[in-house]
């Protein structure tokens, strides 16, 4: 039986912003019979033509700069059943480690052809994939010489409220793991679950390296979708 306690604590003082922003009292457990069974569902028609391709969806006058990659994987419940029609929203820095966000102050170049936003829906087996540019590392103000490892942010809308997940996907072998309190906040045995795996099988010849990142959402109850 693996250790099922995978989530970071609410308070992790090395990540300074948690100090004033984490609850101090125990959370109240909701009995199973009082939980909601469904989350909103989005139809395929809500997606734009290039929502799944961050290398194309903000092009102005050419290709974005950087290493083109494909990210693919499966979203499932804790019994390994694929979760269909799950909305995954994506955001990230560009190849230089710069976010488009107005509050971003890192002195690295914006890319006129890259926004860094995307979204996909999982298919009937829970699979998803998208194309993007490998994000760069960037500094942040948490402590002296603080740098975030390369990562892609994900927001996932599963089938029930307890399957609402926000997480970050990291890349294998990043030397910054040891120095990043956000990554380090995760219990040691669970850290590997945040790291994508390089996949030669999914790598597209002459086009893009591929990384596999499966996501497992809370729950092992009957699926509400027949």
């Amino acid at each position: 039986m693996p250790d099922l306690d995978v989530h970071p604590p609410h308070l992790y003082p090395a990540y300074k912003s948690t100090i004033l922003r984490s609850p101090t009292r125990p959370l109240l457990l909701v009995p199973e019979h009082l939980r909601d069974v469904s989350m909103p569902v989005f139809g395929e028609s809500v997606l734009g033509e290039f929502d799944h391709d961050l290398t194309k969806n903000a092009r102005v006058n050419g290709e974005p700069i950087g290493e083109r990659i494909k990210v693919t994987g499966r979203v499932m419940d804790q019994q390994g059943r694929g979760l269909a029609n799950v909305l995954i929203e994506i955001w990230q820095a560009n190849a230089a480690g710069r976010y488009v966000h107005k509050a971003e102050i890192h002195d690295a170049p914006l890319d006129p052809n890259f926004l860094g936003s995307g979204r996909v829906l999982t298919d009937a087996e829970g699979r998803y994939s998208f194309y993007t540019i490998k994000p760069g590392a960037y500094p942040w103000g948490n402590h002296y010489n603080a740098w975030r490892p390369n990562h892609i942010h994900f927001s996932v809308l599963g089938h029930h409220l307890e399957q609402r997940l926000v997480t970050q996907m990291y890349f294998p072998g990043d030397p910054l793991f040891a120095f990043d309190p956000i990554f380090q906040s995760t219990p040691v045995p669970a850290r590997e679950l945040l790291i994508a795996q390089f996949s030669m099988d999914h790598t597209e010849a002459e086009f893009a390296l591929a990384y596999m990142f499966d996501m497992v959402l809370n729950g092992h109850r009957k699926t509400p979708f027949q």
Partner: protein, 207 residues
């Protein structure tokens, strides 16, 4: 129990979610699938007699300062007590009433959020009082936080509500949205406090 896969760990939403999760609210060139309007400008005919309400508030940190980079999501039943099951869409279409809303706290003064919706009905068999599920993400929060909004003017129904009754009586007020009628608009104010005497009651789904 059968062998269970480990969940994917939660990580913070960070400070830079806005150009994806709430792009239109913040003026970024990307469409939004959901925003602070949980009902279309024209109330759908099925709900024409229902109360159109505003839900507003702020999220306060441990020093009492409003948090300007949080993202708040609401998910609720319709006025007849039914959660929407039909897919939301098509893109740019008229979704009618979705019951799902999302707003970042970085666009209105002092970190305010403000949603437009219809007052939910009671969900049959689930609860005795109408409520809205509230989900909160922000920089400095390593895990999503879940709470519920109940209505201050539903005194009798609230007294019957199983979940509300399981909350320490001294903390129940943190789950109540307070009704005020502002310029003829029916407005409920729901402030979230991360810490302090009024620390919001947050819920967990697993021990």
């Amino acid at each position: 129990m059968a062998h269970l896969l480990r969940e994917t760990p939660s990580q913070t939403v960070g400070p830079f979610f806005a150009y994806s999760l709430t792009a239109e609210q913040y003026g970024y060139p990307y469409t939004s699938l959901m925003n602070h309007a949980m009902v279309s400008d024209q109330t759908p005919a099925d709900y024409a007699a229902s109360e159109r309400i505003f839900i507003q508030g702020r999220v306060y940190d441990g020093q009492g300062n409003p948090i300007p980079d949080a993202v708040v999501e609401l998910w609720q039943a319709d006025p007849q007590g039914h959660y929407r099951l039909a897919p939301i869409g098509p893109r740019n279409g008229q979704p009618g009433f979705t019951g799902f809303g999302r707003m970042g706290t970085g666009t209105l003064p002092d970190g305010q959020f403000r949603f437009t919706t219809l007052k939910p009905g009671v969900v049959a068999g689930a609860n005795a009082a109408p409520y809205i599920n509230v989900t909160l993400f922000m920089r400095g929060s390593l895990r999503g936080l879940f709470t519920r909004l109940y209505f201050s003017d539903e005194v009798d129904a609230n007294a019957q509500d199983a979940l509300l009754n399981s909350v320490d009586p001294a903390r129940r007020h943190t789950l109540l949205a307070h009704r005020e009628d502002q310029n003829g608009q029916l407005t409920y104010t729901f402030n979230l406090h991360m810490q302090g005497d009024n620390e919001t009651v947050f819920f967990a789904f697993a021990p």
